[in-house]
């Protein structure tokens, strides 16, 4: 090209530049890129043999997690906002929604896939190392899209099996009167309209299943760490913590009762 310019043919030099860099360069690099991209697309997300099947249902603004037929009696294990998987094994996840479009995404583990009304999407993921990975809704789903997170916990397979077994059991009877008071207040206040706690009369399905809420790392779909304090705060004033979430504030308990409810929930491991 220096040669071309030396010959004083500026126009030709300009055109050569366009052909070389404007057409040639992208053509070569893009062809290579497309090859690798297509190859990777084809290899990911598929897989026929899987160690576990999990259904995740997007809700405004939390996640219902089901392990179909995983209980000893063949029924489903239902939990919320926390997905446990065996580490080092492929796991298939079926994604759906009961309201608007959400998108399932654990940045450290895999790309995202949408949850769409009327459709069932399937993806296969694998966490190579045990650990706790934060997941997050990636499709705008309204007021609390920002605080619609969850935890993906990858455990060694034997720990995972033990966890499944524990999850299949109903909630234990309260160990002391204080916890019993918490349970009774929970049931009296009508919390069972929306929440289910297996082993009690609470059998609502609008909100997260709380049978083993005490065993989870976070509450409010990844909004707060779990614990008696956060649970009490959430019950009394979830609308400040996560404005517009679908649970109203329950701020007419006296302090003692509120603590009892929180303590009882925390005991549901």
């Amino acid at each position: 090209w220096g040669l071309l310019r030396a010959r004083g043919d500026e126009k030709l030099a300009g055109k050569t530049m366009i052909y070389l860099f404007g057409i040639g360069l992208p053509l070569v690099t893009l062809t290579a890129l497309i090859y690798f991209s297509v190859d990777l697309t084809t290899r990911s997300r598929s897989g026929d043999t899987v160690a576990a099947t999990i259904e995740v249902v997007g809700k405004r603004w939390w996640w219902e997690v089901r392990y179909p037929g995983a209980a000893p009696d063949g029924s489903d294990i239902i939990t919320a906002n926390e997905i446990r998987i065996p580490a080092g094994q492929p796991v298939e996840i079926y994604l759906s929604t009961t309201d608007v479009i959400h998108s399932f995404w654990v940045p450290a583990i895999a790309g995202k896939l949408d949850m769409i009304p009327g459709r069932l999407n399937r993806m296969v993921i694998q966490a190579d190392e045990p650990g706790e990975y934060r997941g997050q809704c990636a499709e705008f789903c309204g007021e609390q899209h920002a605080l619609m997170a969850f935890m993906l916990v990858a455990q060694p397979p034997e720990e995972y099996a033990a966890w499944l077994e524990a999850q299949a059991r109903p909630a234990p009877e309260p160990e002391d009167p204080f916890l019993a008071r918490g349970r009774d207040a929970f049931l009296d206040a009508g919390c069972g309209t929306c929440h289910r706690v297996r082993g009690t009369t609470a059998d609502g399905v609008l909100g997260p299943d709380l049978t083993h809420v005490g065993s989870r790392l976070t509450i409010g779909a990844g909004t707060l760490p779990n614990g008696i304090g956060p649970l009490a705060g959430w019950i009394a004033d979830s609308q400040s913590i996560k404005p517009r979430n679908l649970m109203p504030n329950f701020n007419n308990f006296d302090g003692e009762t509120l603590r009892a409810i929180a303590a009882w929930l925390e005991s549901l491991e």
Partner: protein
């Protein structure tokens, strides 16, 4: 009165309140630009609020509802109220004079488009006053945007306001296409047209094909919100993904609809700054055209995470990367044009260099997100936010600033400050990169888009803080620009004529530009006429060339050959009129009625609009008493042209292309449902309706079209009486078709709300019924004019256009009837 005085006189803008009746492009174009710039400031303020909210973790400055309203309106306003209209503004303002015409071929249509735009924009922004701003994102995905999850009028504000604004984009597109094809300078061949004309031609054609599918989508979504038609409701057989297809079939070309005019601006200004022609002019044209085509084939890359089969993902991924090639040609074309020159670093050139840098970077990340596995990771994260701001701010805002500095003298007759301009540029350039550069990393670290806060423990604080500082630097740049904009009107140096020593015709004449454009219209046979002939400017001003005196005594422009540019006709242009403003207001009245669910307002607005449109069309077919006039340079031209030579015929044909695109979008949806639904039509739902009456109805409609064509031929042979008697029969045939079809459809699907299948069938039929109704109306107007002697063998545009519309309507209806009543049968039989 001297020659020049007469020219000035007929193009003078009326004084006082009647200034609102002006339709001339020199005013309307500037209104467009000024209005779009105002919305740009509003939308920019919204952007600053977004950045303030995200500046620190767990911020509670804005609650989620306010935040969602703000980001929705920021995106909506920037895309619909700023990017597209400001480019239309430049086209409306500059194209006629650049192409050597006096105005666009349909001045009233531009004015109507402008008023639709400004009223739609005000309507949209007024939603903030009622606390009801749209909050479902600028993409409005159902089911979030359906009334179940978005009660209240927020989404209706969006749907109705945007529909209104889209009308304006379409009118401008028709204008631009017919303007470029039919009203270039005498003897300007298509290949000698300035590069901006090419870019705008491609852009306008893209608008014609991309916007109508979204209009169809808007109508469906509003239909579902207001009347419960289940287009997208999965529980009743609909599919929310159908909206995503419609939206992105529009939405992706939209990006290039924004970028191509900007590329045209750069390709126009850059040669002037370096003082030599664009290198590889023809490759630029090729790139613009191929970008236009490719951009319609890659919408699915916005939907890689929907769960679409891998094969189609790979196809759209490859198509998305292919667009890098025309972009590469252009980028290196600009570099080649710059190469080896030592231009003066003026503000417009700085903005162009900034554009080259930022846009190229955005193009690189664009190639990244075109790769499916990469997109799965960064889709809906801040990485994408960063990517498209690089492409859009780099690819559109920077060229717009270059254009504002460069063409400002045409408006004000003065130069803006170079010193302030450099501050504006550097603040904007550094501020931009500070704002959006770091967001790439935020996205890679897992920060999603459209979140009103980021929790402290994610550690995204520092990145977002830097980003907010950058955003405010851009805000300061905008403020400085506005101050200089106001200041320069009084204190800027006088620009004189052709201050940049440009080569194109909009600079032929003095600054500020006269409402009539240049004093006389020179014959043009090269791409840079003012460079080719240094004396041209003076000779144009001396009135040496065509049309220095208004030959018909009023406003006029020249119609020239589509390819050759040979002078063909003097188009007598309409002058100032209230009709465009009144029509836009009555449409707005209808839309507000829709928002308030007030049936009477819709009815009154509809009737007034319809009568105004009839009144408008009544005066379109103007015939000047003098049939042939002298336009100077020993040339005599007719003052009337009939189809298909006339600009009116071209205008209708272009509009029908948009109509075709809308119908195509609707049929796409119809067949899409057949493809995705497992069993279609579903059990227990009537598949086709009665077919015999439908066949009879179709035969009657064909007869109607035959009658119309027969009338056209009869009139041409001088038998006006046949046309007078036959045209009402055609109208009757149209009404009969509507009646029969209604009967069948009501019988087969009495409750379309029950399921998506009958809703889709009704949608196709309703689209056709509406067309036949318009065709009937046109037939009646023509009948009336025939009887009044206003349609004659010599003056036949009205009946020719009516025939064109009738035949198109017939073709649409036959396809629609086939699809709804016979296609299901074919599948069941086979």
């Amino acid at each position: 009165m001297s020659k020049r005085d007469l020219l000035t006189e007929v193009w003078r803008r009326p004084a006082g309140i009647r200034a609102l009746t002006e339709v001339n492009n020199v005013y309307v174009g500037r209104y467009f630009i000024a209005t779009a710039f105002t919305f740009f400031i509003f939308a920019g303020i919204l952007a600053l609020l977004i950045r303030l909210q995200l500046a620190v973790p767990d911020n509670d400055l804005l609650d989620p509802v306010a935040y969602n309203q703000i980001f929705t309106m920021h995106g909506t306003a920037m895309m619909f109220l700023v990017a597209v209209p400001i480019m239309e503004g430049f086209a409306v303002y500059l194209l006629p004079q650049m192409l050597g015409a006096r105005d666009l071929p349909f001045p009233r249509l531009s004015a109507f488009g402008y008023w639709c735009y400004v009223l739609g924009g005000i309507l949209l922004f007024s939603s903030f006053l009622f606390g009801a701003a749209p909050l479902d994102g600028w993409f409005m995905y159902p089911p979030l945007s359906l009334s179940q999850f978005s009660p209240g009028v927020n989404a209706d504000f969006w749907l109705l306001g945007i529909t209104f604004v889209e009308i304006s984009a379409l009118t401008a597109a028709v204008e631009i296409i017919v303007g470029v094809m039919k009203t270039r300078a005498p003897h300007m061949r298509l290949q000698d047209m300035p590069i901006f004309g090419w870019y705008m031609l491609v852009t306008a054609l893209m608008i014609i094909f991309a916007f109508p599918p979204l209009l169809v989508g808007d109508a469906m979504l509003e239909g579902e919100r207001a009347f419960g038609f289940p287009f997208f409701d999965a529980a009743r057989g609909g599919d929310p993904v159908m909206w995503q297809h419609l939206f992105w079939i529009f939405g992706h070309p939209e990006v290039y609809i924004i970028f191509l005019p900007a590329a045209g601006i750069v390709s126009t200004i850059l040669p002037v700054m370096v003082g030599r022609p664009l290198v590889a002019h023809n490759l630029f044209i090729l790139s613009a055209v191929s970008t236009g085509f490719i951009s319609f084939g890659l919408w699915v890359h916005h939907m890689f995470t929907v769960g679409i089969p891998h094969l189609s993902l790979n196809f759209f991924s490859a198509a998305s990367m292919a667009v890098a090639i025309p972009s590469g040609i252009q980028v290196f074309g600009w570099i080649a044009t710059l190469w080896g020159t030592r231009p003066k670093m003026t503000t417009p050139l700085l903005f162009i260099l900034g554009f080259l840098f930022i846009f190229s970077f955005g193009g690189l990340t664009g190639v990244m997100v075109a790769s499916v596995p990469f997109d799965w990771q960064v889709h809906d994260t801040q990485f994408v936010v960063a990517h498209f701001h690089y492409v859009l701010v780099g690819g559109m805002i920077f060229p717009v600033f270059a254009a504002l500095y460069y063409w400002m003298p045409l408006h004000s007759g003065r130069m803006m400050s170079e010193r302030v301009g450099k501050w504006v540029f550097w603040l904007k350039f550094i501020g931009f990169n500070l704002t959006f550069g770091p967001l790439h990393f935020a996205g890679l670290l897992g920060m999603p888009r459209r979140v009103y806060l980021h929790p402290e423990e994610l550690g995204l604080g520092p990145i977002n803080f830097v980003s907010t500082i950058g955003a405010f630097m851009m805000g300061v740049a905008a403020l400085l620009f506005i101050i200089d904009l106001i200041r320069h009107h009084r204190h800027g140096p006088i620009a004189g004529s052709n201050p940049w020593n440009a080569g194109s015709l909009e600079w032929a004449g003095t600054t500020p530009m006269a409402p009539s454009g240049s004093t006389s219209l020179p014959p043009v046979q090269c791409r840079y006429p003012l460079w080719e002939d240094r004396s041209l400017n003076d000779r144009v001003q001396a009135g040496e060339f065509y049309m220095a005196i208004p030959a018909t005594g009023g406003r006029e422009t020249m119609r020239t050959g589509s390819i050759s540019g040979e002078p063909e006709q003097v188009i007598v242009l309409p002058g100032p009129t209230w009709i465009p403003l009144a029509a836009a207001i009555s449409v707005a009245f209808m839309i507000v009625g829709g928002l308030l669910y007030e049936g009477w307002m819709i009815l009154v607005g509809g009737v007034v609009t319809l009568s105004l449109l009839v009144r408008w069309s009544w005066s379109t077919d103007y015939r000047h008493p003098e049939e042939i006039v002298n336009v100077g340079m020993n040339t005599r031209l007719p003052t009337y042209g009939s189809a298909p030579d006339s600009h009116a015929w071209w205008g209708l044909a272009t509009a029908l292309l948009a109509d075709l695109a809308a119908y195509g979008g609707l049929l796409f949806c119809y067949f899409y449902m057949w493809t995705v639904a497992p069993e279609w039509p579903p059990e227990g739902i009537e598949a086709t309706g009665e077919r015999l009456p439908v066949a009879i109805a179709a035969a009657i409609l064909i007869l109607g079209s035959v009658i119309v064509q027969g009338s056209v031929i009869a009139l041409r042979r001088g038998h006006a009486w046949i046309a007078k008697l036959a045209m009402p029969l055609a109208a009757l045939a149209g009404l009969a078709w509507i009646g029969l079809e209604l009967g069948v459809a009501l019988d087969a699907w009495p409750e379309p709300q029950a399921h998506n299948y009958p809703t889709m069938a009704w949608a196709v039929l309703a689209y056709n019924m509406l067309h036949v109704l318009v065709a009937v109306l046109m037939a009646l107007v023509v009948t009336l004019r025939l009887w009044l002697g206003l349609v004659t063998p010599e003056r036949s545009i009205m009946i020719d256009n009516t025939a064109l519309f009738w035949h198109t309507t017939l073709a649409f209806a036959l396809v629609g009837v086939g699809v709804v009543h016979f296609y299901p049968l074919m599948l069941q039989g086979g």
